[in-house]
């Protein structure tokens, strides 16, 4: 027996079919199709972009017919493999050494100065104008003076990295400590917490997002400066190696080193971001940043 229920269902099916046909005609899509298209473009678009870059690069180097001016991407990749088996590891280690030593100096100095400046008015009055005076002088501008004082060698990149990494960590730490909610400190005081507890359990955790953001900025600037310092005033490391290959017109190797520099910079930033996400899972202001 056909009852009303069946009729209704049939009507609905017909209406649905008509509607979907109208929809197709007017190029409006159902939710599923739109989702599929979203996923498809998320997959295809980067591939198209990368393939376009690869094709343009290959075409340009083929048109120039000069592997020194623009080595084709394939030869850069083979150069990358060959230097990986050769000297690349030593260069990376040398650069990491400069970065590590320089940043430990710079970050320690910047952090210590910031903590002292927030504790003591006189220190603040002494350090603040000095920082504001030196900050616009980029690390790069120090290279000639550093070469003159220390001579070409390891000390130049280490000194420059220490110099440039002081500022972001100082400024962010001061801002972070100044921005701690006074009610939290007062609440801890009322509950009888001694100053050291307040320092470690109230001030440090609330300032940590800003401090880590400052560390991330320091690392970014330091990595850029490192390459310049090694290129002009160093005798080891990735920047120096890029310059060295260029002197032999081995531009495919030079570009391979540049590629490594870019990838390492990207990796460092990613590590810090992971660290931020992990250490600051509790924080509502997870990405505190100052420029």
């Amino acid at each position: 027996m056909i009852n009303d229920y069946h009729l209704l269902t049939a009507k609905l099916i017909i209406v649905y079919q008509i509607e979907s046909q109208v929809c197709l005609k007017r190029k409006c899509m159902s939710r599923e199709t739109r989702k599929i298209q979203r996923v498809a473009s998320a997959v295809t678009a980067p591939i198209v972009g990368c393939a376009g870059l690869y094709a343009a690069w290959t075409a340009a180097s083929w048109w120039l017919e000069n592997p020194i001016l623009l080595p084709p991407p394939n030869s850069v990749l083979t150069a990358l493999v060959s230097i990986m088996q050769d000297e690349l590891v030593g260069d990376i280690l040398a650069s990491l050494h400069h970065l590590g030593v320089g940043m430990s100096f710079g970050v320690t100095i910047g952090f210590a100065l910031a903590v002292l400046a927030t504790q003591n008015r006189l220190v603040e009055r002494l350090v603040d104008p000095l920082i504001e005076l030196l900050r616009p002088i980029s690390g790069i501008a120090w290279i000639p003076l550093a070469i003159m004082m220390f001579g070409v060698g390891e000390t130049v990149p280490i000194f420059l990295i220490a110099y440039v990494s002081v500022f972001p960590i100082y400024i962010n730490t001061v801002a972070g400590i100044a921005g701690v909610d006074g009610r939290l400190i007062n609440a801890a005081k009322v509950l009888g917490a001694p100053p050291s507890t307040i320092r470690w359990h109230v001030i440090l955790p609330s300032a940590l997002p800003m401090i880590l953001a400052g560390f991330r900025l320091s690392l970014g600037v330091a990595w850029m400066t490192l390459i310049g310092a090694e290129l002009i005033g160093g005798n080891s490391g990735l920047g120096w190696r890029a310059f060295w290959y260029e002197q032999f017109f081995a531009m495919n190797k030079n570009l391979a080193v540049i590629l490594v520099v870019g990838v390492l910079g990207f990796l460092f930033d990613g590590i810090i971001r992971l660290l931020q996400a992990r250490l600051l899972r509790w924080s509502p202001a997870q990405s505190g940043a100052a420029t």
Binding site: S41, A42, A45, P46, V48, G49, C50, G52, L53, I68, L69, R121, L122, R125, L126, P129, L133, L134, P136, I137, S138, G139, I140, A141, W142, I143, P144, L145, I147, M148, M149, W223, M224, I227, G228, L231, I232, G239, A242, F243, Y245, E246, F249, M251, N254, L255, V257, I258, L259, V261, G262, V263, G265, F266, D269, T291
Partner: protein, 259 residues
């Protein structure tokens, strides 16, 4: 700050400068370290002789060319990838990858392409300046208030009109912030580029020498540490002025953010 506090700070700085002066004069190698009076006299001498102003003018003119190019190309690319999801997906990763390459690392390549002339410095500066502009412009274009766009559309504006009269004006303040950061990068990297190119010239005093090349010749030919510090101070001051100028421009274009 009270007068007394200001006096005590100044006196500590004064004492530090006097100590530095004597320490340098009494050291066995006074030529290797800068002394306060030496820096001051070197600064005045280099400015009066016209050497420093000419070099600064050269550097600034290079920056200007590179910056204009970077600003135009950067805002076009930024608005394009900010308004189109597909373009963002296709070229966003490539732009991010290129961004993480320090412009200074490209100096050897630029020297091969453009020679040891000012053009390679222009290329480096352009590369350094374009990414902050792209990032800020694309972020701003992504956040354009859709109500404004829809209102314009309802009133019958065509897409071109929407871009020029709705999207671009609301993107402008953020792009100026990007330009300020870009100009900071540009000023740092022109010094770097000129330093590196100057090292290769080994006669930094060529006709088109910028401030970086002047520093190289001061370093390797004159061995004059006081002039070097003087140039550094000049570089810092110009950087500060540029930053202040862009902040003022931003304030003019986006007064509501300062209320």
């Amino acid at each position: 700050m009270t007068v007394r506090a200001r006096l005590s700070v100044l006196s500590i700085y004064g004492a530090a400068l006097v100590v530095a002066e004597f320490a340098v004069r009494l050291s066995p190698t006074p030529d290797r370290y800068p002394s306060p009076t030496g820096v001051a006299t070197a600064l005045v001498r280099n400015i009066l002789s016209g050497q420093a102003p000419i070099a600064i003018e050269q550097s600034l003119s290079r920056i200007l060319v590179a910056f204009v190019f970077a600003a135009i190309a950067g805002s076009v690319i930024g608005v394009a990838i900010g308004r189109s999801r597909w373009l963002d997906l296709a070229f966003g990763p490539i732009i991010n990858a290129l961004r993480s390459i320090a412009p200074i690392a490209l100096i050897p390549l630029a020297v091969l392409w453009f020679g040891v002339t000012g053009n390679s410095a222009v290329f480096i500066v352009c590369y350094a300046a374009i990414f902050p502009i792209i990032l800020n412009a694309s972020e701003a274009a992504r956040q354009v208030d859709m109500r404004l766009v829809n209102a314009a559309r309802t009133l019958g504006a065509d897409p071109r009109h929407i871009i020029t009269h709705v999207v671009l004006p609301s993107v402008a303040p953020n792009t100026i912030t990007g330009a300020r950061i870009a100009m900071g990068f540009a000023w740092a990297s022109i010094v770097a580029a000129e330093l590196a190119i100057g090292v290769k010239l080994e006669t930094g005093g060529a006709i088109n020498a910028g401030i970086g090349q002047l520093m190289v010749s001061t370093l390797f030919l004159d061995r004059d540490v006081n002039s070097l510090v003087g140039y550094m101070i000049v570089i810092g001051l110009i950087g500060l002025l540029i930053d202040k100028g862009f902040r003022r421009l931003h304030r003019m274009r986006a007064p509501w953010e300062y209320a």
